[in-house]
């Protein structure tokens, strides 16, 4: 045995979107504190395969905290107990021997469960498609340094652009609101001069799409910011609201 943690896992199992799910309990032992949470699930899955059971389906890809694909709701918190990390960067040294850990998928009607811990987050792609861009076809650009940008604005735009689109903000919100995600993109582009021309239409189109997808209204509790693995600031929501209202008042 490689490590010394013995854990009880209560994991949400659901065959597909059509069938009801339920928690199943598993014991894992000999877990190393150096393992990531997903590597611990790998250990469980390889055992389930050996035993002839269906392994737990979960989304994951880069395993270095940047792709935004992993999405586990651990002990009642998106991406688990630590601040500022995704599930793939959560290590087992954050848990105690003998602990019971509950693992669920993101819960939001706009993120339907596909299987076990895997949910469908394509609503986010549609919000971006509605306006999360600057309309510049390839080949149209001027020399990059012809447009100096205030460093503080560029840094703020970068901080908003660091969103990884994982959906933890939605999972954390009691209203399953996508305001933090949507506002991060609106803010990034609103802070930059390149984004000004389409600012009004962008805010309106993205908010309309967000509503259409079935995300709830902002709860103003700040859970999204607290649970965001990339520290996206709730100030972005205030900025989005300003953009949205000024667009609404000035719309023709």
């Amino acid at each position: 045995m490689e490590g010394n943690l013995n854990l009880t896992l209560k994991i949400w199992r659901q065959k597909n979107a059509q069938t009801a799910g339920k928690f199943e309990t598993y014991q894992v032992s000999g877990i190393s504190t150096d393992m990531s949470f997903l590597e611990m699930i790998d250990v469980l899955n390889n055992r389930l395969i050996q035993e002839g059971d269906d392994p737990v389906a979960f989304d994951h890809d880069c395993r270095e905290g940047i792709c935004g694909m992993c999405s586990m709701y651990i002990n009642g918190r998106p991406h688990g107990p630590n601040r500022g990390v995704t599930t793939c960067q959560l290590h087992m040294r954050s848990f105690k021997d003998g602990e019971t850990i509950t693992v669920e998928p993101w819960r939001a009607s706009a993120f339907p469960v596909i299987k076990d811990l895997v949910v469908n987050r394509s609503a986010f792609d549609r919000i971006i498609a509605a306006g999360g861009f600057i309309s510049v076809n390839t080949g149209n650009a001027q020399d990059a340094n012809n447009l100096p940008i205030n460093k503080d604005d560029a840094d703020d735009a970068f901080a908003a652009a660091a969103c990884i689109g994982c959906g933890a903000c939605v999972a954390a919100c009691k209203n399953a609101s996508a305001m933090l995600f949507t506002s991060a993109k609106i803010s990034q582009l609103a802070l930059l001069p390149q984004g000004q021309i389409e600012a009004a239409t962008r805010a309106q189109a993205m908010v309309a799409q967000m509503d259409e997808e079935g995300f709830g209204a902002c709860s103003n509790t700040g859970a999204c910011e607290a649970e965001c693995p990339k520290g996206i600031s709730i100030e972005n929501i205030a900025r989005m609201n300003r953009e949205y209202f000024s667009a609404t008042f000035s719309s023709k």
């Binding site: 990531s36 792709c67 935004g68 040294r93 792609d125 149209n140 650009a141 990059a144 447009l147």
Partner: protein, 659 residues
């Protein structure tokens, strides 16, 4: 024998691309509307190509295996993107970027392609800024640059340690804009299973919907593979878990030649392996070598902690061996030097397979700089430390956080432990100047092709190449083929060709499911990875390669008789997806060893123990091996070598020296 024609335009090197662009066939807008293009993969190459081609008016379909195009592994690139803007006034030029790339690639890349890459590099930065990519800036509002390995100018543009993320999100935004306009149809959670050829031309694909398990047929006048590299053949690598060779390998088995498969990049600065459970390795950006100093103890088997080893008992071996480039030597050289020290018994950490990357000196240097800026004439050590750490945090904060998260150690206080890991594959599908493979109508872009990095890629050049191919090369070169396809109407996928391709895919999936053996897919993948890392990794030998070819063949047989895949075909089944990918890696691994065995020289990332200089540097054999090895698939375990001679007309080929 198929003749390989690289289709490099005539004329002076610096004029080839300009001339090509002004003379290549065009497709008029009304015809573009009727031409369908399939793009596999949504990383930098795929997203930029799909967006740009849709902007031109082509009908585009994009496929990715992840749940969103934004997940593609380009997102994880950290350090930066090169461009020969010469904003720093430090002597950069298109020619210098071209020269550095050819030299960095150890004289095994194609001159014309690399020159074109250098020519379009500046436009990439312009395009990205116009899209709203928030690159790092100076206080005057202009773009900031930093240094990278293998160069002596500052030409790397960056966004903290998340450059790949920002560039990909820019391309993804452009792609989603076209999706919203109805010009691109997106197929997420879809994995390409095979390419469909009709009368020798690529005409579509068979894809599997991962959620329903259904097989789908899709027609395209052209198919673009933008599917990244195959580093996961080593099991442990810095690639994402899902990164795979399947699309490229399926194309290879349908007739596309595979070039230089043995050229793999082992990145010098990764977090060392911590145990058997390890599922992937994490890179610490090469940009850290800008300011960090790499060292090991001078004393063998030194068990003291890093901070207890006095300055004069530390061996800064890169600065010692390569004074001109120091810690910024190219990746292949830095990796081999780390391996050499560890093998000789000077490694650090519990495994002794690691070296230190130390920021103590940089923190003091930056701290003193800040003190000067703020007119503090006698700052205390604490003040220097604190100000220095703030600067380092601004430059590399996310990387330091990541290190701490994974290892539980604070790199602001004690040196990081690093060791080389598989990172990038220079080899890939053979393509001509137009990026077309040996199958007409089938293209390969980005890391999936072989063309620009020779035997070793320089840092910050992968992002450049992916976006060059997608934004600025394929929109032009694809016209050369599609102009002759305007009379081909969209084909029905009910044809026999599509039906038989789908059946072959279905049969293979069913065969895999029906093995019902005793071991999970990971078991075979780990074993393959160990063979590849030990014998086809940083150091290779004739004997080792010959043995590993036999071992891999045996492992293939074992896999196909003993793999155990749970679940069923008509449902989300990650193990079945993995099994398909590992089956392809098992065949690719064999070809990599065959290629490494054929190349009786050392060059770049390919280091054969038998061929080294007296001081342990790679020893090339330009008379015999200045060629691209393009392998044709004949049958299981049988590949035929075709050689594309590399002609250096503009650069004098020389022994690489960074001393």
């Amino acid at each position: 024998m198929t003749k390989i024609d690289s289709k490099i335009p005539d004329g002076n090197l610096a004029e080839k691309w300009t001339k090509f662009k002004s003379s290549v066939s065009l497709v008029n807008p009304s015809n573009k509307r009727n031409l369908e293009i399939i793009v596999i993969g949504s990383g930098l190459a795929g997203a930029s190509a799909a967006a740009s081609l849709a902007e031109l008016g082509y009908k585009v379909k994009v496929f990715c295996f992840q749940d969103s195009p934004r997940r593609a592994h380009s997102i994880a690139a950290q350090g930066g993107i090169n461009a020969s803007k010469n904003y720093q006034n430090d002597g950069d030029s298109v020619y210098r970027l071209f020269y550095d790339t050819i030299k960095g690639g150890d004289y095994r890349a194609r001159e014309a392609n690399v020159h074109r890459l250098a020519e379009v590099s500046g436009s990439i930065i312009d395009q990205c800024v116009a899209q709203g990519v928030p690159f790092a800036r100076e206080y005057g509002g202009l773009l900031s640059n930093r240094s990278f390995g293998g160069t002596q100018v500052q030409r790397t543009f960056y966004a903290a340690g998340q450059t790949g993320q920002q560039l990909l999100l820019g391309a993804y935004s452009a792609l989603q804009r076209q999706v919203g306009m109805g010009n691109v149809k997106l197929y997420t959670r879809h994995e390409m299973q095979d390419v469909v050829t009709i009368d020798g031309k690529a005409r579509g694909i068979i894809a599997r919907d991962s959620v329903s398990g259904a097989l789908e047929r899709h027609f395209g006048h052209a198919v673009l593979l933008c599917t990244g590299g195959y580093g996961n053949v080593f099991y442990l690598s810095t690639n994402a878990m899902g990164s795979n060779v399947t699309a490229a390998w399926k194309a290879h088995k349908k007739g596309a030649f595979f070039a230089n498969p043995c050229y793999t990049q082992i990145h010098p600065t990764c977090i060392p392996v911590s145990g058997d459970h390890q599922s992937k390795l994490t890179l610490m950006s090469e940009s850290l070598r800008n300011d960090g100093r790499i060292w090991v103890p001078k004393k063998e088997n030194d068990t003291r902690k890093a901070n207890e080893i006095p300055e004069d008992e530390r061996d800064y071996y890169l600065e010692r061996r390569y004074p001109a480039f120091g810690n910024l030597v190219p990746r292949d050289i830095a990796s081999r030097a780390a391996k050499e020290r560890c093998d000789a018994g000077f490694g650090v950490g519990t495994s002794k397979m690691a070296v230190y990357l130390d920021y103590a000196a940089a923190i003091i240097r930056y701290g003193k700089g800040e003190a000067n800026k703020h007119n503090m004439y006698s700052p205390t050590d604490e003040e220097i430390q604190s100000m220095g750490k703030t600067v380092v945090k601004e430059k590399y904060g996310n990387l330091f956080d990541m290190y701490k998260q994974i290892t539980g150690e604070d790199p602001y206080e004690i040196p990081m432990r690093i060791y080389p890991a598989v990172h990038y594959t220079m080899g890939g599908l053979w393509v001509d100047y137009n990026l077309m493979t040996t199958i007409p109508g089938l293209y390969a872009l980005g890391e999936a092709n072989f063309s620009d990095h020779g035997a070793n890629r320089l840092g910050a050049s992968a992002l450049m190449q992916g976006l060059a191919d997608g934004y600025f090369v394929i929109p032009y070169t694809i016209g050369a083929y599609l102009a002759s396809e305007i009379r081909t109407p969209a084909m029905s996928t009910d044809s026999e060709d599509f039906a038989s391709a789908e059946k072959a895919v279905r049969d293979r999936l069913e065969t895999l499911m029906n093995i019902k053996g005793s071991k999970p897919v990971d078991y075979f993948h780990k074993r393959l990875g160990k063979i590849m890392w030990d014998e086809c990794g940083m150091a290779r030998s004739e004997e080792g390669l010959k043995t590993s070819i036999k071992e891999i063949q045996a492992l293939q047989k074992e896999f196909w008789s003993d793999v155990k895949i749970p679940g069923d075909i008509n449902n989300l089944n990650p193990e079945l997806e993995k099994a398909g990918r590992v089956a392809d890696f098992l065949e690719l691994g064999e070809l990599m060893c065959i290629d490494a065995l054929d190349r009786n020289e050392s060059c770049g990332g390919h280091f054969r123990m038998e061929y080294q200089t007296e001081d342990g540097e790679a020893l090339r054999d330009d008379d015999k091996y200045a060629y691209v090895a393009a392998w044709e698939y004949e049958k299981q375990s049988s590949f035929k070598l075709h050689k594309e001679e590399l002609k250096y007309e503009n650069i004098k080929i020389a022994q690489r020296s960074y001393k």
